[in-house]
């Protein structure tokens, strides 16, 4: 394993320090934690419902890179691929509650759900008003008892809710909007090469030169199955076909689309894949009102790509295009 690191145990704190030190004063780290919160003047001047997300590290820029005016109020960075602990999440809730309550945006993984639940119980005991939305956009796992995983679509949820929170939505309205957006967000991901978790030292799984893993998550877990490698266009067609099946009246609706690199996929290939997605949707006469391409929700150094479709409702496009001051959007 070759990595640009110092000590494996120090990866997360050093990353958080680096992010904060180079944020040109936009971010600060809560003392004794790895929680990153807004430090821009606007944060104190214009109060709003606090938005707190977080999860295991290794998905940068998610979530800390999306802290800023118009997106998250705070992000709690756990160890690599490991949910942050309840005391850290509680510290973030406490720091961003400006009297209008705090909404937690949680990806649907058992560890994240349990730790955020414990933090919410702690905060409620201290009279904070806290609500939660759980993102479950992945469609690769259909019949899991714990439901679908929360993956790349999370960033679209954070962007829409961040803009709405800045516009003065109440905690209840934000929770309601979040649940509506999550219902319309669907993601599928594939990988050509697994990530190397630094504490493990080797890739999480092996694929032959002519294989791809279909339906991966963002924590290096294997996908639904291993398949033969195909062209970008064939892959785009197959992924779109499966995603389309999740929506009713697919071609009648408007969409936002996220093509997301998972850490080691060149942007060149992401644009090629996005071009194929755009061509296929154009042929079908599907209206795409918003595009985003890039490394937004990564999986350390996984060579992979994910495709997210969000079926838009009135006003959502404006939340997606609203100005934002973050490192990562």
């Amino acid at each position: 394993m070759k990595k640009f690191i110092n000590q494996i145990e120090q990866i997360v704190p050093e990353m958080v320090q680096g992010l904060v030190q180079t944020s040109n004063g936009q971010l600060r780290c809560l003392e004794q934690t790895t929680a990153v919160i807004r430090n821009d003047p606007q944060f104190q001047n214009q109060t709003q419902v606090g938005l707190v997300s977080g999860g295991g590290s290794g998905h940068e820029p998610l979530h800390a890179g999306f802290v800023g005016d118009g997106m998250l109020s705070a992000a709690v960075c756990g160890e690599i691929f490991t949910s942050p602990t309840p005391d850290q999440i509680y510290a973030a809730i406490n720091a961003v509650d400006q009297g209008q309550g705090v909404l937690l945006i949680v990806k649907n993984y058992s560890g994240d759900v349990m730790n955020f639940d414990m933090a919410r119980e702690m905060a409620e005991a201290d009279n904070h008003q806290v609500a939660t939305v759980v993102v479950d956009d992945d469609i690769a796992i259909q019949d899991s008892e714990q439901g679908h995983r929360g993956v790349a679509g999370t960033v679209l949820v954070e962007k829409i809710l961040g803009a709405a929170a800045r516009a003065g939505y109440t905690l209840e309205q934000l929770q309601d909007l979040g649940q509506q957006v999550i219902k319309q967000t669907k993601t599928l991901a594939v990988a050509l090469h697994a990530a190397t978790v630094p504490g493990v030292g080797h890739p999480g799984f092996e694929l032959a030169d002519d294989e791809l893993e279909f339906g991966v998550g963002i924590h290096n877990e294997r996908g639904r199955n291993t398949e033969k490698l195909v062209t970008a266009h064939e892959l785009a067609a197959k992924m779109l076909e499966q995603l389309q099946g999740e929506f009713t009246d697919f071609t009648q609706q408007h969409y936002a689309i996220l093509v997301n690199g998972m850490g080691a996929t060149p942007l060149m290939e992401q644009y090629i894949f996005a071009n194929d997605v755009a061509d296929i949707l154009q042929q079908q006469g599907v209206a795409v009102d918003f595009w985003k391409v890039g490394n937004l929700v990564t999986s350390i150094d996984m060579t992979g790509i994910s495709l997210t479709l969000l079926q838009l409702q009135a006003g959502w496009r404006d939340w997606l295009t609203a100005d934002v001051t973050t490192l990562g959007w």
Partner: protein, 192 residues
Amino acid sequence: MELTQTQAQAWLASFATTILDHKAELNELDTAIGDGDHGTNMTRGVTQIQTVLQTSLPDLSTLLKQVAFAFISKVGGASGPLYGTAFLDMSNAAKQQSAELADLIQTGAAGIQRRGQAQVGDKTMLDVWQPVAQALAANQLTSQKIDTYLQATRDLVAKKGRASYLEERSRGHLDPGAQSSDYLFQTLLTVI
């Protein structure tokens, strides 16, 4: 039989050493069907437990509570809240009811079930905790039995936790949380 504070201290010290010795093995088990960090995460928890054990604590309940806080605040992931809830509930039981060992472990197993919403047979740590609690109640717990409970997780298909996303492909691997629970109860046997 009642668990004494002295026994609990020896038990948890031995558990901490065992986890540190098997960190890489737990990571490997977790790489097969999870995200490869169970050993690393548990190491952070037991290192904090070693610090707790060096302080002087008034009673068993306080010891169990400090151990719970070590899991909750240092481990993260799913195993932090699960082990943490088990020890927190055991601490409450030791304070309010009794320190009867079988009852304590049964309370811990119930806490894991409540926090994780898992059932026996879902290929989780509960598949070791629940039969261990029953064997303790019947005064029949042996090292061999604990291993049998652990090995039985190999042929199960995971229904909870990240391994469940693998569906049928989770079969054929030991559950990492069941393995660390096996170490917890193997070390318990050496002090009672």
